[in-house]
Symmetry: C2
Amino acid sequence: MDVARRAGVGAATVSRVINGGQNVSRRTMAAVQKAIEELGYHPNQAARSLKGARTKTIGLIIPSVADPFFSTAAAAIQEVARAHGSLVLLAASDNLPAREQEQVLTLIQRRIDGLILAPSDAADSSMLRYAGFPVVCFDRPFPGQTLPTVLGDNYGGARVATEHLVLSGFKRILCMGGDSKLFTSQKRVCGYRDVVEAAGLPYLADPNVQDYSSAEATLRSHLQGNKRIDAIFSIKNSVTVNAYKILRLANIDIPGSVALIGYDDFELADALEPPICVVRQPVVDIATRAAEMIFEALEKGEEQRQTLTLKVELVHRGSCGESRI
Amino acid sequence: MDVARRAGVGAATVSRVINGGQNVSRRTMAAVQKAIEELGYHPNQAARSLKGARTKTIGLIIPSVADPFFSTAAAAIQEVARAHGSLVLLAASDNLPAREQEQVLTLIQRRIDGLILAPSDAADSSMLRYAGFPVVCFDRPFPGQTLPTVLGDNYGGARVATEHLVLSGFKRILCMGGDSKLFTSQKRVCGYRDVVEAAGLPYLADPNVQDYSSAEATLRSHLQGNKRIDAIFSIKNSVTVNAYKILRLANIDIPGSVALIGYDDFELADALEPPICVVRQPVVDIATRAAEMIFEALEKGEEQRQTLTLKVELVHRGSCGESRI
DNA sequence: GTGAAAGCGCTAACAA
DNA sequence: TTGTTAGCGCTTTCAC
């Protein structure tokens, strides 16, 4: 250490000064700080963590950084990390198991203190075997694993949304959107199904709608003939938006001809015409709780296996109309 | 290294195997790999970079992770990093110089290979003095520094937007929104000003509008009397949306009574009624170029000081109406 | 083709 | 109060 040499002291003394300056005389302290200043010295975190200390870094793997749901979550997580003096190593999996595995491996090599993960549907359970740090899942559980998990109540949210439509008197409710392999999609479709079946209404689901054109095709087929739908429950944000656009373009009145309710709130849901009714997930809460669980595990030294299911909220807006009964 | 012991070889051999296995016999190679497998061994990246090697990590400091502009940028940057075998350390500054400085310092201690930064308006130029790695700014330049920078053409974009309004025959154009301390806001207001002044139109700017209520107050005052505005140029996304909501709520026809044009495209700009005309910045391009500049500097060993100004694009939609002339 | 040894920058333990 | 030493896990000579 040239700081030590310049200040005319030993390396250990410099270390003491850096770490709060216990048992260092005023004079030496000042001399060392001066040397640090002059040399523009910054302690090497890598060397520190080599000694077995924490890396003060947590990993975050999400399907997409650009997705508003996950970027909001990432913001909340980075804030919790910052409050705990840690940084976030950000990685995107694109929902690809191979990519996910690759990212987990690099994070293990980085010796992160903990990992927050929104696992892909085919996440490989073996990859975390030798992780050596706490892992918390959010938004979705890890398939076939009992890892601590924080998620929104997908089943309950779908039930509430569907029940709202049923109670409003809608009879032919189409559930569309998502990816049938995805945990969240499955749960939401289940919630929808259980409610329509209990109400004796037809089960009309098209869980694989993704982009504009597939949404258009589905809607077109369901909007003609005598088996015309009168309401849509979209379980995914982008699909909700596409459905809205398609209906508007086709001059189909919302909710007069077809009601629309979506899953996940979005920025302009209340600025559309009509404002769109949605099930709102507590994104920030979910992410914050997940991050806090990591730091709790780090502080207490023990990891809990619990799954935390947070309540979702039905946001009433114009797109479901008033009760028809 | 217990992998070495288990495989009955020396530490150096293990190292060779990990790094591609040059000069290692098939047999030893296999034995070592078996030991690695059985022990669930992953090389410690910290120890590696201690030896002076790259950390394979770049830092990213943005004002807000939840902001769509920056999260889109972050996604693009993490993708470039991944393609170069690197990870992204994510930090948020909240536009607070103190926070920014704190984050830069922690990143320096992490010995990141490079830093991508959207500096706050009062960024402290001294903090990067001993950084020891390439730094690239994006979206905004570093105040008073000549760092390589990638940004959109704020001045030009504002000119194009304002000219479009002028050419369409609007006479009283209000420029609103943003934060007058912010570089991007200033440039946009300049572009607006130069165009209206050249056209002999009144300069009507309220650059400090931020939230809904301030937008409402500003609009209210400008929408009454005989000095009523007939067009709005909003230089910030959230303000554009608020302006839209306020106009709709007040039953003011867009563009019939007041035209509206915004800066930065947004998800539902084309789903609103009418669709909102905007200046679109090439977010992904900006971010990708910035990230690539880092890796170029790393590969070529030299840093260029250039500023890259990327073209923006006027997206015509209904909110500016047809030409009035 | 392989192993022994040095050293990257730091801190904890022990001496002085 | 301060300095010396050892060692964290790895890679890189340099011998063999």
